[in-house]
């Protein structure tokens, strides 16, 4: 009957389908030397210079296609990463007037479109972020870049290869600030019709990689820029392909099925099976801090130093490490223990529940009168690692010493707003801590912006309204330490106070795990949010 015929057709079709499927394996890495990276981002970052989407955006679309005046040293794994000359070869502050900086710029550097790099380009780029009357002002890039250079008051080109920057007050951290500012090609902007949207389609910077094509939400393709000014960093690969895959499980599937060669941030649970399947896992500490930012508003239980210390002693960081498959560095302070700014704090942060209970008893708390704290946490978010399991685990261990933790779970976008709003805002609904992860790679972003008494909402991100003149004085000292030795010492003193006063709940630092096929060679994972892709080859 007709039905039987249809049934036979279906059977035949499915047999032929499975045979052909077996004959053709999908997604084999195409040409020699192409690296396909699966990013955690949901979309290709802004391509015009100042990237968006945080550290990962800057990692893949910032320092790849562009340079700043000051770059980061991304070539070694075993020491803290520091600043190195980028498009500026040297810089120093004027001895007489500490608000004046002179930058000597690199000669012979070219943009991707062929135009020459000169001081006027830097002025042009700073105008793009700071001067809203200039034709090249770009609100999107300004939103990203302006807050990174709070010290800059004015700037001018002395000659083609000398730049003078004047700051509002003496600030030794100007080089760190300028390391954020990426230099786009003014000539190219003019050539595409003075339109940033057109520039975005075909960008031009001075970086080692040239962006040749990109499709929103799907992929971006970059090729080496052979005329890059640093001959040691001209990329060896033929092509670099970036693919946004925000779902962790999907990302792992993509790696395992051969569709990409490298994924950022595999889910920690997937790592053992990835290792078993023959993939390489790289990781390294870097200036990342997963912490509870504590409220110091009146009435907050965290105002008592004994409570703060007790909480820090009550977190079982080794147990947490098991949760994360070992992919973390237990915190001993605000920065990594290996950081040059760690110093020698006296408060030793370990797991000591007995001491914690003692301290709480001293403070007047006990099993019948527990401390109650309310913490804002998010279910996900850039850099937040595995916020829910981690926070629940901390809740349990803190509960064991008599600190009752209550959570207010919000989604990531709301979280960012609550962080901006500050602890005194009604929006935080009485929460007295916020679980936020911090980029602690430079002194201002790492230390000052959290605890400077002038930087409370809405002027800054001192979320907890912390106010201690002693700390402000230490910050001032550091800002006025213009030699490297002085600066390191001053920042060590800052860090020692951070730890001795237990100003945050110090939990852990991420190690940026990455998984890649065994064919990827030559990658050195620097202790930095950003990475160097130039030395990589794919067999």
């Amino acid at each position: 009957m007709h039905i039987k015929k249809i049934q036979r057709l279906i059977a035949a079709a499915s047999i032929s389908l499975s045979v052909s499927a077996a004959l053709m394996a999908p997604g084999v890495a195409s040409a020699q030397g192409t690296l396909r990276i699966g990013m955690t981002l949901a979309d290709i970052p802004l391509t015009t210079g100042q990237t968006d989407q945080g550290g990962e955006g800057q990692r893949f679309m910032g320092y790849t296609a562009y340079d700043a005046l000051v770059n980061w040293d991304l070539t070694t794994a075993d020491k803290a990463s520091d600043l190195v000359p980028g498009l500026a070869t040297e810089w120093k502050v004027d001895d007489a007037d500490k608000t004046k900086w002179i930058f000597k710029l690199r000669q012979g550097a070219k943009f991707h479109d062929g135009s020459e790099f000169k001081a006027s380009a830097v002025v042009w780029n700073l105008d793009k972020l700071l001067n809203d009357k200039s034709p090249q002002y770009d609100p999107k890039q300004a939103a990203q870049g302006r807050s990174r250079i709070p010290a800059v008051a004015s700037y001018k080109a002395i000659d083609d290869y000398t730049l003078e920057v004047t700051t509002k007050e003496p600030d030794a951290f100007v080089p760190y600030q300028l390391a954020w500012i990426l230099i786009s090609s003014p000539a190219h902007w003019e050539a595409v019709g003075k339109d940033w949207n057109k520039f975005a389609l075909q960008p031009s910077g001075t970086g080692p990689w040239k962006l040749v094509s990109w499709t929103a939400r799907e992929r971006a393709e970059m090729v080496p820029f052979k005329e890059y000014w640093d001959k040691t960093r001209v990329p060896k690969l033929d092509k670099l392909v970036l693919v946004p895959i925000p779902e962790a499980a999907t990302r792992t599937s993509a790696l395992r099925s051969g569709q990409v060669d490298w994924i950022e941030a595999p889910a920690p649970d997937a790592i053992p099976s990835l290792k078993q399947a023959g993939f390489q896992i790289t990781s390294n500490g870097y200036p990342h801090n997963w912490t509870w930012h504590l409220s110091r508003v009146e009435g907050s239980p965290w105002n008592d130093i004994r409570v703060r210390k007790a909480a820090n002693l009550a977190v079982d960081r080794d147990g947490l490490s098991e949760l994360l498959g070992g992919m973390m560095v237990p915190a001993k302070g605000h920065v990594l223990p290996s950081s040059q700014w760690f110093g020698k704090p006296q408060f030793d942060i370990t797991y000591d529940p007995e001491k914690a209970k003692e301290l709480l008893a001293e403070a007047g708390y006990g099993p019948d009168k527990p401390v109650t704290v309310k913490v804002l946490i998010s279910a996900s978010g850039s850099g937040q690692m595995q916020p829910l399991p981690m926070n629940e685990y901390i809740q349990q261990t803190l509960g064991e010493v008599g600190i009752k933790v209550e959570f207010e779970v919000v989604e990531w976008n709301t979280m960012v707003n609550l962080w901006r709003a500050g602890a005194k805002s009604d929006q935080v609904k009485g929460a007295n801590a916020i679980n936020f992860t911090y980029f602690i790679q430079d002194p201002f972003t790492g230390f000052i912006r959290h605890l400077d008494s002038r930087l409370t909402a809405p002027n800054g991100t001192n979320w907890g309204w912390y106010n201690d003149p002693e700390m402000d004085a230490l910050f001032q000292k550091a800002k006025n330490a213009f030699t490297p030795a002085e600066q390191t010492k001053a920042l060590q003193e800052v860090h020692e106070k951070f730890v001795n006063d237990a100003l945050f709940l110090y939990v852990t630092h991420d190690v940026a795990p990455r998984a890649m096929t065994s064919k990827v060679k030559g990658f050195v994972q620097a202790q930095n949010w950003y990475q160097n892709f130039s030395s990589i080859t794919v067999e």
Partner: protein
């Protein structure tokens, strides 16, 4: 008939207006302001203010709505807050990808569904019927995004015969009708087809059973008409109902693919929506939902017309 068509089209206009108003309200009701997606967390307040002005968020809501609607009517859906590219451009290319996926899913779903429905209808009450019905009910009961994940594990990771994500080695701009690209369609299309299989099957089965049980079919058979003729008769009679359901399912496939596209990173309108929602990209969100909803309104009109043409009993007021 023509007057009904015109009346129906005219009704679509206030519906479209209502749809756009609702979208606008929904999107602006959402917690979290639009600027938080474009500015980094620690941007100073004056930068945020400036951004609000640049994007027009400082104007009162009704004014914003009127401006948006005015531009939308001319086809300009604004610029994406996140990428700066034209929303209409992005939506149109995404719609193309979703249509491709939906049509493949429709192909699989409708043929299998109708086929199973016929088998069941012809074998009412017997084992084949029960088996086919079981498949159909399973189809509409399974959480399809979960099924997608399972298929990825089995076919991509374990057996390594089909890819897990995306639309092909070169992305969507690089589409070609060869195996390297078409293999990316298979898993998402199958996953998406599961629900239409169920619904089409059940509708077809009940329609076929109804026709076959009518007395005049027995009469036709008694008169000696061949089975083939009877089948033709059945097909002619169930076609309108089944086609109407297929039309609506197509609408569901186009608009409801967000979960599948998320699991497979398929660059269609669903994926676009997902990213727009979480990045608070308001122009993109408004534009995408508007296009999808208008598509659906149009589809509803077409289905209504088919229904009315076939069965004049269903005249609406």
């Amino acid at each position: 008939m023509i007057s009904y068509l015109i009346r129906r089209l005219l009704y679509s206009v206030p519906i479209a207006l209502g749809v756009s108003l609702m979208i606008f309200m929904l999107v602006h009701l959402a917690p979290g302001d639009p600027i938080s997606a474009i500015a980094p967390a620690d941007a100073p307040p004056d930068v945020i203010e400036r951004l609000k002005v640049d994007y027009g968020y400082d104007k009162p809501l009704p004014v914003q709505f009127a401006l948006w609607l005015g531009r939308a009517v001319t086809g300009d859906l604004g610029r994406s807050v996140a990428t700066g590219q034209s929303v209409s451009g992005e939506v149109m290319s995404a719609v193309g990808n979703t249509i491709m996926l939906s049509l493949c899913a429709a192909l699989v779903g409708f043929t299998l569904g109708a086929g199973l429905g016929f088998v069941a209808g012809y074998n009412q009450g017997r084992l084949l019927d029960k088996a086919a019905t079981a498949i159909a009910i399973a189809g509409i009961s399974v959480p399809h995004y979960w099924l997608g994940m399972v298929l990825v594990i089995v076919f991509s990771v374990q057996m390594n015969v089909l890819p897990a994500v995306g639309m092909g080695p070169g992305g969507s701009s690089d589409w070609a009708w060869d195996w390297a690209h078409m293999q990316h369609l298979i898993l998402p299309a199958i996953t998406l087809a599961v629900i239409p299989i169920g619904i089409v099957m059940r509708t077809t089965r009940s329609a076929v059973a109804e026709i076959l049980n009518q007395e005049f079919v027995q009469a036709l058979r008694a008169k000696g008409l061949s089975e083939r003729h009877v089948l033709g008769h059945v097909v002619r009679n169930v076609a309108p109902t089944v086609l109407a359901v297929m039309g609506l399912q197509l609408g569901y496939l186009l608009g409801g693919s967000i979960l599948i596209e998320t699991v497979f990173s398929w660059p269609g309108t669903g994926f676009l929506l997902n990213t727009a929602i979480f990045r608070r990209d308001i122009p993109m969100l408004q534009g995408t939902i508007l296009v999808l909803a208008l598509f659906f309104v149009f589809l509803n009109v077409v289905v209504d017309l088919i229904q009315t043409a076939v069965d004049p009993r269903i005249k609406r007021a």
